[in-house]
Symmetry: C2
Subunit: 431 residues, 2 copies
């Protein structure tokens, strides 16, 4: 009775959730079956999996298998322009760490898991072009039409389901592009599959107005992502001559150049991706259609929360379906009420974290504040949670995480100011 459009990460996980409840699920996907066809080079090659995503995978019995093939990243490794390295741990131990996982590998695993469920049917090579809001009939690129009781749009930032919903009256919608885009480059494995950079870290080359990052892959390689302006004097649009590309990397990322043997070809041939934030409201059309994941809340990748938030959508939507079935409208309204505020906060935090990652992460003041936060978290593990820790390593909803962080920061500032005052008084007394 659920027809999911999009067999990406969110759509397949939701099929697993609903299939395990015994719901009939039809899943339609534009691309070919990944079990029989190699997947296209699509978007990012690997992703950072954190607690929200792991929890969802655990609920459908897949967490152990995914974590086994992931690579633990215990912290950030900062690369300065002079080639110096500094390691900043994410948390107090391995319970507060990220996993680098392969997007294609995880998607294949989810497709296989969904396919094993008796009430789930998968349909590939079927590009949905929209639906008729009156009859709830889905329309496909080949002209075929499939009636649906309930449509779930899990078809990503450029969702055809949302595009149809945008035509309803008074639909609030917003798409904001960063002036930066991204390009992926590969650091291949060294001799006999050796990792050429620290394996258990997320590498960052912060450069003020731009940055490069790298995440490890299981085969010993790293996928680098350069975030850089799309247009202007220093930009993807301006940098096209091989000699200029090499010169740029030698100046900005000298320690990475020897590890990037195909730098110029990769740079010239790999696509440049745009970075979009999508917000909309409502997320559903009555009890007939609902959106999840990037289709209703695409965020920029600087907190590594796109997939994790989409997985959390599946967790919450399944709870709402269980609570309200068969009143789908109530289920979807509840889902939106429980998620929308938090995803709006996440969208803002992701954009802010871009500035933190590319600019402040390298500064002494930032390092000092991070150290103070780690110390406070160690002293008061239940009370003091840095915002980043709450987002990555707890399931506290995003907006609550932000409120909590603001409250803590005020208290810490107050205590510091009080201590400063006491110190001044002590000095005064001793004179």
């Amino acid at each position: 009775m659920f027809t999911i459009v999009g067999a990406g990460l969110a759509g397949t996980l939701l099929a697993c959730y609903l299939g395990r409840l015994g719901c009939r699920v039809d899943l339609h996907e534009r691309r070919s079956d990944p079990r029989t066809h190699a997947q296209d080079r699509g978007r990012s090659i690997n992703l950072a999996l954190s607690v929200r995503g792991i929890h969802a995978l655990r609920e459908v019995g897949l967490a152990d298998e995914v974590l086994k093939s992931g690579i633990l990243m215990r912290g950030r490794m900062i690369h300065t322009a002079a080639g110096q390295l500094t390691f900043q741990p994410y948390g107090k131990d391995d319970s507060e760490a990220l996993y680098s996982v392969s997007r294609a590998g995880l998607n294949l695993l989810l497709v296989e898991a969904a396919a094993k469920l008796p009430s789930v049917r998968l349909h590939f090579d079927r590009r949905c072009t929209g639906f008729d809001p009156g009859s709830n009939v889905l329309e496909f690129h080949d002209g075929s039409r499939v009636p649906a009781e309930v449509i779930v749009g899990a078809d990503g930032a450029y969702s055809a389901i949302r595009t149809q919903m945008q035509k309803q009256e008074r639909f609030n919608y917003r798409q904001d592009y960063l002036t930066h885009g991204y390009k992926e480059l590969t650091i291949p494995a060294g001799p006999s599959g050796a990792f050429q950079l620290e394996k258990h870290a997320l590498h960052i080359w912060p450069r003020g107005s731009f940055m490069m990052i790298a995440l490890p892959n299981q085969d010993g390689s790293f996928t680098c992502t350069l975030f850089w302006p799309m247009e202007g004097p220093n930009s993807f649009a301006a940098l096209t001559a091989p000699i200029d590309i090499l010169r740029f990397f030698e100046q900005e990322f000298p320690d990475a150049v020897p590890l990037l043997p195909n730098l110029v070809e990769d740079f010239l041939h790999n696509p440049t991706g745009a970075l979009v934030t999508i917000r909309c409201q409502p997320w559903h059309q009555g009890g007939k259609a609902v959106l999840i994941g990037d289709a209703c809340h695409a965020v920029v990748p600087f907190l590594g929360q796109g997939m994790n938030a989409a997985f959390e959508d599946c967790t919450v939507l399944t709870q709402c379906v269980r609570t309200h079935a068969p009143n789908w409208e109530a289920a979807f309204r509840d889902f939106e009420a429980r998620r929308k505020e938090h995803l709006d906060v996440l969208a803002d935090l992701c954009i802010e974290n871009f500035i933190e990652m590319r600019d402040r992460v390298g500064s002494r003041w930032f390092v000092l504040k991070k150290k103070l936060a780690v110390a406070l978290h160690w002293l008061f593990p239940r009370w003091y949670l840095p915002l980043y820790t709450t987002i990555e390593f707890t399931r506290i909803p995003y907006a609550e995480a932000l409120r909590r962080a603001r409250r803590q920061d005020w208290i810490v500032r107050g205590v510091l100011a009080g201590l400063g005052l006491l110190g001044l008084l002590a000095v005064w007394q001793s004179l």
Copy 2:
């Protein structure tokens, strides 16, 4: 060489501006020719014309004719729920006043003025459905195609030209609906065309979470607009029984009920309009297409600036065309650079002013602050301009008006705090 889509207020005024420069202009309009067909009851019946709009009309030689048929509104007339009236003047004299003008009358006058210009050609009953961004060929509902050197999208909040531009890469776009909608009602003229409320005022019935306003028409009637939630327990959706409509008005607007003889029929038959704010960026596609007015910056009507801002667009765009011709890309980039920031500020101010009008305008504190502002403006006419005055009665760009108002307010607060302190000291001394 300019093909304008939309012969509403912005499109026809721009045709007058460009036609007077001798530019060839083709103007395409979806509706029938207003010179030969009565116009549909479309959007608002009358509009508040203020300095920015008057300036633009003066530049094309039409201001005197428009003002002659407009009705001067010298201030706000506040109607309490008990039926008491309070008049709040807008400014120090009639140079700081609004004009209530008829949308249809003004549009007809602009069409006639454009038609008189030898280089302007008008085409009615031609609904544009989009354009081919490669060839710049406009497409119409009847299948006809018209090549254009430069396209100007003056086709309103639901612009077909913008919809086409949204398909370009990295187009930022945002549409936000208020939860309130609006409905128009008519207070007919009294015996022998007498105005049944004060003629030279904009009437407001502020009721906290909603409000009604009324603007005078030349024929002695007033057009009332009720701003009320679209959905919920007290809303347009909930109020459908004649007896409930009457009861609602008798409770909330008792002094208006005797003046609204067709209240129930008007309420049931007149359409309920939605209130949308549209923001987008860029406003142009290279040197091939550019947007003006609601097509790129629709605002909610609570500062009466929609038309005035669109007219100011025509003033600025014409300046940019004169400066940069025939480099249209430079002209449109300059136009956007000179307007975008200000229209973003206006969009926010319009939403904020809704709260002021429906809620605060009736409070003593608001009246006191307004009186202080008027006094300061009278004492320091060159230095102290209340924000509302700057928006309605000067041509200072909106963002600059806001910065100026904030600066002034800090100074006034500082002076008041200083005076308060001095007063306290004086009391202290005298004890």
